[in-house]
Structure formats: structure tokens, C-alpha cells
Symmetry: C2
Subunit: 214 residues, 2 copies
Amino acid sequence: MKAVVVLSGGPDSATVAYHARSQGYDVYAITFNYGQIASKETLHARMVAERLGVSHMIVDLSSLRDVFGESTALMNKGIPMPSEFEPSIIVPFRNAIFLSIAVAYATSIGASKILYGAQGSDAPFYPDCREDFYRTFQAAARLGTDTEIEIEAPFHNIKKSDVLKLGLKLGVPYEITWSCYLNNALHCGVCESCLNRKRAFADANLKDPVRYER
Amino acid sequence: MKAVVVLSGGPDSATVAYHARSQGYDVYAITFNYGQIASKETLHARMVAERLGVSHMIVDLSSLRDVFGESTALMNKGIPMPSEFEPSIIVPFRNAIFLSIAVAYATSIGASKILYGAQGSDAPFYPDCREDFYRTFQAAARLGTDTEIEIEAPFHNIKKSDVLKLGLKLGVPYEITWSCYLNNALHCGVCESCLNRKRAFADANLKDPVRYER
């Protein structure tokens, strides 16, 4: 059975891809270039898909820069990159855009399921990572395609550190994942996403295999 | 109050834009190039927006060609263009993709409402033109943005000929709209969309101001 996995190149979605494969799905990974500063994450997504040995498509949505305007620090170098959560790092409704394209892709290739990497540590901060959101989106997808398509965030109720523990068992190559909101040679180590990653590896008592600037 | 209008360049969405303006909204029109053969419809959308004197953004989603694959006659010249409805002219979940980007745009510019041109004559054929779809999508949009955003297809329960009658009162310049699924100098006159248009003008007892090849 085919499943579409929304793959960002970060540890959460990489773990979802490995999880889906371990469940027996024929994985079709899809990654979006939406004008994010950290454009290299799409290359890391490619590396993860190649390592897992699954189909991978990168979709160019870079003209969404005009849609999102100047409002988000992930896309606008003029906004300081914060080290803690703040609204400037929300890219509004981004997951819904990704999921809607994933639904179209699933319909086109005959996949009955879509998986994405929203996990429990993100849910309090990002509305489009919450269970009530994606369940309702699934209802809209079923009505809008006249199918019984399923949308699942398998880690929506476990925290990021538990995702990593699970991923370790699944053999996820975290050394080739990318979390940083910047686009430097190494992870910066001080943006909100790098700090979340460091914290999750520490909470899981695992060694983070990536190198940091700081 | 700002409203985002999904504008294709066809008569239905042009009428929605004029309707929104007549309701007092400050209209922000958004148009998508999604790899359709009829790419000139985006230029007609621009003309309509200019005539109405409203903001207009064209978003390039042409890489969706890879997502939709070879499955739809609206995007693949290798599939014969039918004169009657058949599944090959469905672009699956297209309206959901457009609406999700429209929601992101609305959030970015501070608009509280999104309008799109689904009308009653399309609802039996296109799942993402139905009221239950867009009401459920609205619920997902509210959950996914933590806002009270509204999504409306004001003509969802009236037929295309009645949309035209209303548009005539609103002064919609139907001569600069584009309906044809092909991209020739004139409307072909024989594709499903041209025939729908002809039929709706005839049902409304109105003269269609565009010229047809046949």
C-alpha cells in the first residue's frame, strides 16, 4: 500500500518516513521549497529519502514568499531569528498547504494515506500540528476528493525526545537530518529549532550526531 | 474589511470579486498558475482585477504539474479535451490547495474572509465545490490558524446562469473573462467549459460577449 510522507528533512518527519516504511507502506516522500531561508533542508530530505530508498519529490513553492510576505523569521532575513518560541517563527497554515498538495499527490498516485511529522512538543505552539486540526482536515479531504483518504500524524501525542528514541530503534540516520532555521554549513546551535533539537536529544539521553557552530 | 477572492479569470470567480466589492469588502484577488494548459486565464484574471481596481497576486505553482502527473486533461495535452463532463477534467483537490494558500495570504494581510467561485452547477461534479466540503475546510482553517476566518462560496446554491444574471447587475465585464480549457486566441467553443458557458448565457437569455472558434 502506498503512503505519502511529508518530509521536511528534519528529525521528526524523517522518523515518520522510517516508521511508515516499518509499517509496510510503500513510501512516497514529498518535500516543499516554500521560500524558507533554510533551503538546504530540502537537500537533507533528499538524502533521507535516498538512504531509506524511497521515491522523493521536491515541489517548488518558492513563490509563496509573496503570499507569506515579510511576516515570518523563517523566510525573512530582516527579522532576528529567535532562540525561544515566538509568533514570528509561525508560518501560518503551512502544514495545511503541504497536506492539501499531499492529498492531490496521493490521489494522483493511488495512495490511501498521508503521514506528517507533527509531534506532541509542537502542538501547544503550532495550531496546524494539533490533532483536532488534522482530523478536521482529513474530513475536508474526504469530502473534497470523494475518497476515504487518511491523514495521520503518528507522533502527535508523544514528545520530540520520544520520537528520537523510537527513531533510534528504526535506524533513522539523524546525522543527515537538518533542523536549523538558518542555512549555514553547520547547525547554528542557537536558533529555536536547534535548541529544541539539542534539548530533545538530551532528554532522550542520546548523542546528537550533528555538529553545531555554538 | 479585507477579503481574499480566489480569482481564476472565469465568469464565476469574476462575479464573486464584483460581489465582494459590492458588499463593501476591500478585495485582494489571488490567482494560481498551476500548470494548466489554459495559462492565459491568469492574464484574464489580471484584467478583471485591474478593471475592478483591486489588488491582485498571481502565484506560480507550475511545479504542481509533477504532483498531478499525467492524469488530467486540463494539464496534459496528450489527453483529448472532452465536450462533456468526465473524470479526466477533475484536477483533484485543486480548490483545497488554492483555499489553503488563500488562508495563509489572508492571515498575512489581516483579511478575515475568503471567497471563491464554486457554484451550484459545478457541485454535482466537483467534490471541492460542495458546501459540505468548504464548511469543513473552514473548520480546519479555523483550527489550523487559531482564528475565526470565514470561507464562503456565495453562489454555491445558485446555478451558473443565475450567477451571470447577478453579474450583469454588478457590471461584471464578461468580455474579458476566459472559460476555455485550451489556450488559443479565441475560445474553442467545443470543450466542456466553453459549452457550459454557452449554455449558461443561453439559459440566462444573455448575449455572450466572447467570440468562439466554433
